[in-house]
C-alpha cells in the first residue's frame, strides 16, 4: 500500500512536470511573471487581471521586435483607455540598451526586463524560441491568442474588450 502511494505521488509529479514544461497554449492560465520595471519596482503580470493584456517578449537587438513596437504604439494609444494593456518582457542583457530602445520607440506601456537572453528564466518558463513572441490574455488571465499581428490583433483586442 505504501509503495503504491509512493508510485501514485511519483505519477502525479511526472504529470505536473510535463504540464509545467509544455508550451503555454490557448485556454491556459498565464504563468505568473514578476520582474523589475524601468523604475526598478517589481511588476506582476497577474496584477493586470481585469484588463486585456498583450504579453510581448522582445529585445532591443531584435530588428523585427523594434518594427513591431512601432505598430504597438498606435494600437496602445487607441485602446489603452478602454482597458487594454501591454506587458513587454525584454530579454536584453544590457539594461542600458533596453532603456534606450524603450525611449527611442516611444513606449509608454509596461516594460520589464529579464536579463540573460535565451537563458532568461522567464524565456525558459514560457518556452520562448524566437522573438518577437506575443500572447493575448483575456480579462480572466487566460491565454487566448499567440503571435497575432496587425488587423487580426486589433480585432481580437476589440472583441475581448467587448467593444
Amino acid at each position: 500500500m505504501k509503495i503504491q502511494r509512493k508510485n501514485y505521488l511519483l505519477f502525479v509529479f511526472i504529470i505536473l512536470s510535463i504540464v509545467v514544461k509544455a508550451q503555454p497554449g490557448p485556454g491556459k492560465q498565464a504563468i505568473e511573471i514578476a520582474l523589475p520595471s524601468l523604475s526598478g519596482d517589481t511588476l506582476k503580470l497577474s496584477s493586470l487581471k481585469g484588463k486585456v493584456v498583450l504579453l510581448d517578449f522582445w529585445a532591443s537587438w531584435c530588428g523585427p521586435c523594434r518594427f513591431s513596437n512601432k505598430k504597438l504604439v498606435k494600437l496602445y494609444s487607441k485602446y489603452k483607455s478602454q482597458g487594454f494593456e501591454i506587458y513587454s518582457v525584454s530579454i536584453d542583457d544590457s539594461k542600458g540598451d533596453w532603456k534606450k530602445a524603450v525611449q527611442k520607440d516611444k513606449i509608454t506601456w509596461i516594460q520589464v526586463n529579464d536579463a540573460g537572453g535565451w537563458d532568461a528564466r522567464t524565456a525558459i518558463t514560457w518556452n520562448i524560441t524566437g522573438i518577437p513572441t506575443s500572447y493575448l490574455i483575456n480579462k480572466e488571465g487566460k491565454l487566448v491568442g499567440m503571435d497575432l499581428e496587425g488587423k487580426d490583433l486589433e480585432e481580437a483586442v476589440k472583441d475581448l474588450l467587448g467593444k
Partner: protein
C-alpha cells in the same frame, strides 16, 4: 645528452598531441534575424564536442568553447547551423599551434584536420592563434567566390584534397579546410 633529447622530443610530441582547437566565434545569417531565433544556439549546443555556446549580441556572433581533448569538426558546426535554417557567415577558430609554418598554399595537419593556408607570410605559428575558415558554407557566397577566384587550386572549390595537396602527403579526396590567418 641522449636523455635530454628524449625529454625535448617528449615535450614536443605532447605539445603536438595536445594541439587542439579550443574555441571559435561564429556568425550566422539567413533570411530572417538569426539572433532572434534560439534555433542556432540550441543546434550548436547539441554538438558533442561543443562545451558552451554564448550569444554575443554586440558582435552578432556565437562564442563557442570546445570540450578539452576532443577533435573539432568544422563541418559539423556548419551543418548544425544549416539544419537550424540559417547559414554560417563567418567562422574564426582558435587553437594551439606547435610550429606550423604559415606559407601560402602549404598544408598542415592541426588537431586532426588538414589545413590549406590561402595566405601567410612564412610565419611560424606557435601557441594560441586564430584562423578563419573560408570554405564554401563558412562564409557568404560572394565572399567565397572571391577566395575561390583568387586561387588556382581546384581543392578550394571542392574542399577535397587535389593534386596540390597530394604532393604534400594528404590522402586523395581527404577533407581539406582552406584557411586564412
Amino acid at each position: 645528452m641522449k636523455r635530454m633529447l628524449s625529454v625535448v622530443l617528449f615535450v614536443f610530441i605532447s605539445v603536438a598531441l595536445h594541439a587542439q582547437f579550443t574555441k571559435a566565434s561564429l556568425q550566422a545569417s539567413g533570411l530572417t534575424c538569426a539572433m532572434c531565433s534560439k534555433a542556432v544556439k540550441v543546434a550548436l549546443e547539441k554538438i558533442p564536442f561543443v562545451q558552451e555556446v554564448k550569444v554575443d549580441i554586440k558582435n552578432q556572433q556565437y562564442n563557442l568553447v570546445f570540450k578539452e581533448g576532443n577533435n573539432v569538426d568544422f563541418d559539423a558546426l556548419s551543418k548544425a547551423v544549416e539544419d537550424a535554417g540559417f547559414s554560417v557567415a563567418s567562422l574564426k577558430a582558435t587553437g594551439n599551434f606547435s610550429n606550423v609554418k604559415a606559407v601560402k598554399d602549404s598544408h598542415a595537419e592541426v588537431a586532426g584536420l588538414n589545413l590549406h593556408f590561402l595566405n601567410g607570410n612564412d610565419e611560424n605559428l606557435v601557441g594560441e592563434r586564430t584562423i578563419t575558415i573560408v570554405d564554401k558554407n563558412f562564409l557568404s557566397a560572394k565572399a567565397f567566390k572571391k577566395y575561390a577566384s583568387e586561387s588556382k587550386h581546384a581543392c578550394v572549390q571542392t574542399g577535397k584534397a587535389d593534386d596540390c595537396c597530394k604532393k604534400e602527403g594528404v590522402a586523395a579526396n581527404a577533407r581539406v579546410y582552406h584557411v586564412i590567418i
